[in-house]
């Protein structure tokens, strides 16, 4: 311990906290609802807003994009195989004018009036249509998987946490054991056992995905169930399930939404992995993952085949992450990375 009496204080050791000596005036705040609070927090976060805008744009493109060019995701024009991107107007500036290794292959093959905005794949399918179709499928897979995760995980976590004791013990051990199986291993094996299709991929994604959700739900219940308002409900004679779903559920909703926002990119990524090991969506259907792994096969020769899908995927991941970060800060500024 430094001896206090040894220290000499001088004048310049201290400065005024508020140089201007302004008066501290209490501000009066309007009462605002929780939702309004969240909204005003969120809107202040530039990154999150940008993320939200990009997500909305991508979702819109996923809905209308596949219908813009007159091609369908599976229509093949074999003569147009492997054409590079060519976009009207931009081509006048030397951008996306359909050149490949210095030669304009559109002109060479006599397709003067044909435009493939993102190019064509090795079979002569329009990549623009396939990318947006793929975005749609990827989003459907990820969102559905996460919704199921939320439902299963929340019910499991709520029941486990609320009843506690033996029930909790057994349910937690089961979850722990399931959690012990590496996701990719189980997803890969399930991909083999189940018939090929979107439903199977969703099932494979959710088989381990719900555990994270259930943990959060359980932790929150444990925290909440000792609080007064629950006790109040109990004394008023509310049934267990009424308490769980009416009193506790609304209180953990924010956290669950944030968690799910982080889970969606994960699901999209796992689907991409499945596509790479050949267990993705069935041909000729497209998903972002299957497009990337298809394009990957000619990456050193026709990099454009993979580029557009990668850019959309990266944008989607970036904006989902930004959005989720913003949402987390808005819902609960104290909460940190999960």
């Amino acid at each position: 311990m430094t001896q206090v009496k040894d220290i000499e204080f001088k004048d310049d050791d201290f400065t005024f906290a508020h140089e201007t000596n302004e008066k501290i005036i209490d501000k009066t705040y309007n009462t605002s609802s929780y939702a309004k609070d969240v909204w005003s927090h969120f809107i202040k976060n530039k990154g999150a807003v940008i993320g939200a805008v990009i997500i909305i744009l991508i979702v819109i493109m996923a809905i209308v994009g596949p219908h813009l060019t007159g091609h369908t995701y599976k229509s093949i024009i074999i003569e147009h195989a492997s054409l590079t991107p060519r976009i009207p107007f931009l081509e006048n500036f030397g951008l996306f004018d359909g050149t490949f290794h210095g030669k304009n292959i559109y002109v060479e093959k006599g397709f003067q009036d044909i435009y493939y905005w993102f190019g064509a794949d090795t079979q002569g399918r329009d990549i623009f249509t396939r990318v947006w179709e793929g975005t749609r499928i990827s989003l459907i897979i990820a969102v559905t998987a996460v919704l199921i995760d939320i439902f299963v995980g929340m019910v499991y976590g709520l029941i486990s946490g609320y009843f506690g004791g033996k029930i909790d013990m057994v349910m937690q051990r089961i979850a722990e054991i399931l959690n012990g199986i590496p996701t990719l291993v189980i997803v890969t094996l399930l991909g083999l056992v189940l018939p090929r299709g979107i439903a199977s991929i969703i099932f494979a994604l959710m088989i381990t995905g719900w555990i994270g959700m259930s943990r959060i739900a359980r932790a929150q219940v444990l925290k909440l169930k000792e609080q007064e308002f629950i006790l109040a409900s109990k004394t008023l004679g509310a049934k267990n399930f009424a308490i769980i779903f009416k009193d506790i559920l609304p209180n953990i909703f924010g956290q669950i939404i944030i968690m799910s926002m982080f889970s969606i990119p994960n699901a999209i990524f796992t689907e991409a992995f499945l596509s790479f090991v050949g267990l993705g969506v069935p041909a000729p259907m497209a998903s972002l993952g299957s497009l990337i792994s298809e394009g990957y096969k000619s990456m050193t020769i026709y990099p454009h085949m993979m580029m557009s899908a990668i850019i959309v995927l990266a944008l989607l991941m970036l904006s989902l992450n930004l959005f989720a970060d913003g949402l987390r800060d808005a819902f609960d500024p104290k909460m940190k990375q999960m």
Binding site: I76, P282, P284
Partner: protein, 546 residues
């Protein structure tokens, strides 16, 4: 907190060490195939499937067979034109009705010094068919109609009753139930290679697991084998025709990814690389680009248990709707050719000296107008539009072809719906065996160089007739050709086979041939003489390097 400090420090040290040892490699080249001053040459080959086994009775895949033909020699081998030439057997006599072959063996040695004797062949063939070995290629002895092969395979007769005998150390007698024109060519196949009983039994279950647990009688010795990575061979100076071997060392590298393999080739570290799909486009004009034709014929197998497929109009519509030329030239681009019938080209030559397909001509046809016409008829017959499920293998080629066929059928038969169903090969086969499919993209590689190897598939009761095709006319033609009076008259038999194919493919559309598959490769221009056999194992034995 001390622990933590320790952790950080040790992490840093580890990282530094790792960093130091990861100095850039002195630029490639040293490893790649090139000729050094002494005339020793080396060829490095990329393989996209790993070497599965060096035990030639257990092998089932091309990669293993290629490695085995390098280190083992059989009675015969194939020359560049697919014709059998003497190898361990310097000469042979055939009795009058073509059922007894007597082989006279050359003075060859195993790499441990023991001579290669007729008994090694007898033992090898007995082990091949022995139930204890459970070889997946045991059937091949029945294919050549070796005496008692079926009974021995079923365990009804002892191994010694098999129709192969050592008359003395250097004379081998093979007795067949029926004449077999393709026997000599088939003897070049690794399943028929010899095995030294004494050595094999001394090794026990370690036999052929490492290069040290094998003895060799072929042009090369195996020197290294790292499963999952690489294996290597060097010239066998004790090989009885050692002077005919040019290349000293052959290395095989297992590279699953064709793009990284191609990067290695371009860096000069590899000499032989397989190309896939799009890479063909990019490299087809470069020196070293090689196309080869394989014996496999891919066709749509139709399941006749499905009511819609019993309708001949629908089958014909599908036959006309498939654009085979485009599939071969624009979708696959790897040297595959459109299938004109169910018998591939370059498979067999008739008694008149003409190649089979030249005689049989083109049976399949792409005609969208006819496809539409037949589909309308089929629709009238069935009273509704048709939905068909197409089963295919989840390989890159399988997927592209299936997607294109789907497009063909849906475009050329307006109203038809095709769903695609991809499965790993083994699953696909199992589903076909169980009849759990509608239409499947299936292949068949010839067992021997005769149209019969394909036509037998569609006989009633044939185990490979997965779709249960049944036609009296076809049955009569094929059985007359193979077992009837005509079997003894080569020309009459040939004509019947041609007719049978016309019935099966043309009249009935009982099967829809698609393409005969090829393979595109890049081979360093300095390397020559790799022999590709469409019905047999590719040979790197006579390769030369300039």
């Amino acid at each position: 907190m001390k622990k933590l400090k320790l952790l950080i420090v040790s992490t840093l040290v580890f990282a530094l060490v790792a960093g130091c040892s990861s100095k850039p490699a002195t630029n490639g080249g040293t490893e790649g195939g090139n000729t050094d001053g002494t005339g020793n040459s080396k060829v490095v080959v990329a393989t996209d499937t790993d070497l599965s086994t060096m035990d030639h009775h257990l092998a089932t895949d091309g990669t293993s067979f290629i490695a085995q033909t390098l280190v083992f020699s059989g009675l015969t081998e194939l020359d560049e034109n697919n014709m059998p030439i003497p190898e361990i057997a310097e000469s042979w006599d055939i009795n009058e009705d073509g059922t007894v072959y007597t082989f006279h063996l050359a003075d060859a040695k195993w790499s441990n010094g023991t001579p290669v004797t007729a008994n090694d062949f007898v033992y090898g063939w007995q082990r091949l068919i022995d139930q204890a070995t459970a070889s997946e290629y045991a059937f091949i002895l029945s294919t050549i109609t070796l005496k008692n092969a079926d009974a021995v395979a079923a365990g009804e007769l002892p191994l010694e009753e098999l129709g192969v005998k050592a008359l003395d150390d250097k004379t081998l007698e093979v007795t067949l139930d029926a004449p077999c024109d393709f026997l000599l060519g088939l003897l070049a196949f690794p399943s028929f290679f010899p095995l030294n009983q004494e050595y094999y039994e001394a090794q026990g279950d370690q036999y052929a697991k490492t290069p040290q647990n094998m003895i060799y009688n072929g042009p090369y010795l195996m020197t290294a084998w790292t499963p999952g990575n690489s294996y290597a061979f060097t010239k066998n100076n004790d090989y009885f025709k050692a002077d005919t071997i040019d290349v000293n060392d052959i290395d095989f590298k297992f590279i699953q990814d064709t793009q990284s393999a191609m990067l290695e080739y371009q860096s000069g570290n590899l000499d032989v690389v397989k190309l896939s799909g799009e890479m063909v486009d990019a490299y087809k004009d470069q020196e070293g680009f090689t196309n080869r034709l394989q014996g496999y014929l891919w066709y749509l197998s139709l399941n006749f248990d499905i009511p819609e497929l019993q309708n001949q109009n629908l089958r014909k519509a599908m036959m006309y709707a498939v654009d085979r030329e485009t599939i071969a030239n624009n979708v696959l681009k790897d040297g595959s050719v459109a299938a004109d019938g169910i018998i591939p080209i370059e498979l067999a030559t008739g008694p008149d000296g003409k190649e089979y397909r030249a005689t049989a001509g083109k049976i399949t046809e792409y005609d969208p107008a006819k496809a539409k016409e037949y589909y309308e008829k089929a629709k009238a017959d069935l009273g509704k539009d048709v939905t068909i499920d197409l089963l295919f293998e989840d390989t890159e080629a399988g997927k592209s072809v299936a997607e294109y066929i789907q497009n063909n059928l849906e475009t050329n038969c307006p109203g038809m719906t095709v769903t695609l169903n991809s499965k790993p090969k083994k699953t696909r086969l199992q589903m076909m065996q169980n009849g759990e499919y509608q239409v499947a993209l299936h292949r068949w590689g010839p067992d021997y160089a005769d149209p019969q190897t394909y036509l037998d598939l569609f006989l009633v009761g044939a185990s490979n007739n997965y779709g249960k095709y049944e036609s009296q006319a076809y049955q009569d033609l094929v059985l007359e050709a193979t077992q009837g009076e005509s079997a003894k008259d080569s020309q009459a038999r040939w004509d019947l086979l041609v007719q049978a194919e016309k019935v099966l493919v043309g009249d009935d559309a009982g099967v829809i041939p698609v393409y005969q598959n090829g393979g595109a490769m890049m081979i360093t221009p300095a390397v020559e003489g790799i022999e590709f056999h469409s019905a047999g194992v590719d040979s790197y034995r006579h390769m030369t390097r300039k």
